[in-house]
């Protein structure tokens, strides 16, 4: 079972001090947070992708590429990569590059985004959100699994003889999750491919999450990828923890009351009851999150949002320490205790995917394309021609 953190990268004024970090400071804080999570022993760091203030995380693979170099064990991921407004060719290229650079210590979670104007800014139509997710991902997969792609679709310039590089590490594409809060079509998509399904339910009641995950599991089995309880499920979460529960409530309340999204709305009492937000002692977080398996089944990835709403860096790092030292070990032991035979404890790692591909006779080992398979020309040919012309 993986436990990690995700950031939405909001630049928010600290309501207790009135101080607002600038974009540079916030980006650097996120890097510090990710490195700290790695050192503390958390399993996953995931960054959001946004193209509008107050969010700063516009370029996930740049950030994660750097982190691949300065972290050791943590899996680098996204929450989420916009499958709707990014060029699928660039997604295939950038994440294959990240996969190679990180030596497979990554995966990605795809989402449609939640900011309407991002669609027109990137030349797309929000009403086509689902269709974009379906078509774009189908192309990403082909670009990863086929060396030379001829392709034509509804939303993008056609491709003739296109090869996406670098080819995926060991000939095995990265593991992909599909995230959606409201749209069963995306759960259907994840199930069809046997990919992971992320329900980032931080603002949603568990009743809704439960139905959506149950639908995904049932369709996963329908498409023949295994039993429903073997489907790969991830959840979002949000916690604020102090040894003393009342101190946690007092310290977090001004951040809650002024937070983006839910601030100035429901009371913290209501919101902690209705959503996974848990404010209190380590034991209270353990009790709450250990019980989620009763609603969604045994799942593989639990992410926590810990760095939003203007919380200062020092506090965020403390939260990561408490998670890693006092909460995650207990949650992991609980999860291991209950997990039935045959249900994976983790989402597939790169090594798992390579082993699976080899078993199926699909892995190509070290994959080197010596020549352009479309024109039949090698780089040397071009160099020789260039030399002749120059002479």
């Amino acid at each position: 079972m993986q436990y990690g953190i995700f950031t939405v990268s909001d630049v928010t004024t600290d309501p207790t001090t009135g101080r607002t970090p600038d974009d540079t400071e916030r980006v650097r804080n996120i890097l510090t947070i990710a490195k700290h999570a790695d050192e503390a022993g958390l399993d996953v760091f995931a960054t959001g992708e946004h193209h509008n203030p107050p969010f700063v995380a516009s370029s996930p693979t740049t950030m994660l590429g750097y982190l691949a170099g300065v972290t050791k064990n943590i899996t680098l991921s996204t929450a989420t990569t916009l499958i709707t407004t990014n060029d699928p060719v660039r997604i295939a290229e950038e994440y294959a590059m990240l996969q190679v650079i990180s030596d497979g210590r990554m995966d990605l979670m795809l989402g449609r985004g939640n900011t309407g104007p991002v669609y027109p800014w990137f030349g797309q139509d929000i009403r086509q959100g689902i269709n974009l997710a379906i078509e774009n991902y189908a192309l990403v997969r082909r670009l990863w699994t086929e060396d030379v792609v001829d392709w034509q679709g509804k939303f993008r310039t056609p491709l003739q003889g296109f090869t996406s590089t670098p080819r995926p590490l060991d000939g095995v594409p990265p593991f992909v999750w599909h995230g959606s809060i409201r749209s069963p079509e995306i759960a259907e998509q994840a199930a069809y491919y046997g990919d992971g399904f992320l329900h980032n339910n931080i603002f949603w009641p568990m009743e809704h999450t439960k139905q959506m995950v149950a639908f995904y599991r049932q369709r996963f089995e329908h498409y023949g990828h295994g039993r429903a309880d073997q489907a790969i499920v991830g959840l979002g979460g949000q916690v604020f923890v102090r040894k003393d529960s009342q101190k946690a409530w007092d310290e977090f309340r001004p951040y809650f009351d002024n937070a983006p999204v839910y601030g100035h709305g429901p009371s913290m009492e209501d919101f902690t009851r209705e959503t996974p937000l848990t404010v209190g002692s380590p034991q209270q977080v353990i009790d709450r999150y250990a019980a989620f398996r009763e609603d969604v089944g045994d799942y593989q990835r639990q992410l926590f949002l810990v760095d939003h709403a203007g919380l200062p860096l020092k506090t965020v790092l403390e939260q990561i320490d408490i998670l890693a030292e006092e909460i995650v070990p207990v949650l992991r032991a609980e999860a291991d205790k209950h997990r039935p035979e045959g249900v994976p404890s983790n989402p597939p790692s790169h090594a798992d995917l390579v082993a699976k591909a080899q078993a199926a006779g699909e892995a190509t080992g070290l994959h080197v394309v010596g020549e352009d398979r479309w024109t039949g020309r090698r780089a040397e040919d071009d160099a020789e021609t260039a030399g002749v012309v120059t002479r």
Binding site: I134, E135, E185, E188, Q211, M212, G265, D270, E274
Partner: protein, 248 residues
């Protein structure tokens, strides 16, 4: 849930003393009525704020007229009443968070799974109240498609009676509800039965109730909310269909 059995069709409630039609009751705090056989469920949604509320009074009369007209056709019906005031805070929270929780989630289920809706609001500054519109705003935009709806409003003077036509009707037309031709506006003077070329208030209420009843009687009873949650995403297209739709 306030379950009212057909009351013999009497509409002479204007002078009826006592708290009955004016009692605010949250439908979720009532025991579930056994929805025997195919009794139709008419849900009255009132956005009246005061207590007692003339808006609720108008809503009760419209609902009873509907039940009575259904009884005339041999169709049994019950009335469940939702007072939006009871859920005012939750409605605003749902606006801000994007999800409805607890009692309000239950109310939305009741409303969207009804056989017919009677929707009544006071008119504030020429149109529906903000509370009324906020409730409509948090409903899924497809959840009232085809829903038989009867609209009513109350106001101080008859000068605002057309607000039902220029304010409320377009809203429910947009949501593709099946809105009864007659809408009922009750100005303060109407409660004195002054009448006019459009008829007295009781006449208009009866006419509106008959129209809604005709629509309801022509359809099968809908499954209750509880029965409807068995397969929440059963309408989701298969992946092959979604991908195939793009290839064409």
């Amino acid at each position: 849930m306030t379950a009212t059995t057909p009351a013999g069709g009497t509409l002479d409630m204007v002078n009826r003393p006592g708290p009955h039609p004016l009692t605010r009751r949250s439908i979720v705090n009532q025991p579930e009525p056994a929805n025997q056989d195919d009794a139709r469920r008419v849900v009255l949604v009132s956005a009246g704020l005061s207590q007692p509320s003339s808006t609720r009074l108008l809503g009760d009369r419209l609902a009873e007229a509907t039940v009575a007209a259904l009884a005339d056709q041999g169709v049994r019906a019950t009335v469940e009443t939702v007072e939006l005031r009871d859920h005012a805070h939750a409605i605003m929270d749902a606006m801000l968070t994007g999800f409805a929780s607890g009692d309000l989630a239950h109310v939305i289920e009741q409303v969207t799974h009804a056989d017919a809706l009677v929707l009544v609001t006071p008119l504030f500054t020429t149109t529906y109240s903000g509370l009324f519109k906020s409730f409509v705003d948090i409903l899924d935009k497809d959840s009232l498609v085809g829903m038989p709806v009867l609209l009513g409003a109350t106001g101080g003077t008859p000068r605002h009676s057309l607000a039902l036509e220029y304010g409320l009707r377009p809203l429910f037309t947009y949501l593709r509800a099946d809105v009864a031709t007659t809408t009922v506006f009750a100005a303060t003077d109407d409660w004195a039965e002054a009448g006019g070329s459009a008829g007295t208030l009781p006449e208009r209420v009866r006419r509106a109730g008959r129209e809604l009843a005709r629509t309801v009687a022509s359809r099968d009873a809908r499954p209750s909310a509880a029965a409807g949650t068995a397969a929440p995403f059963s309408g989701t297209p298969s992946f092959e269909d979604m991908l195939g739709g793009l290839a064409g």
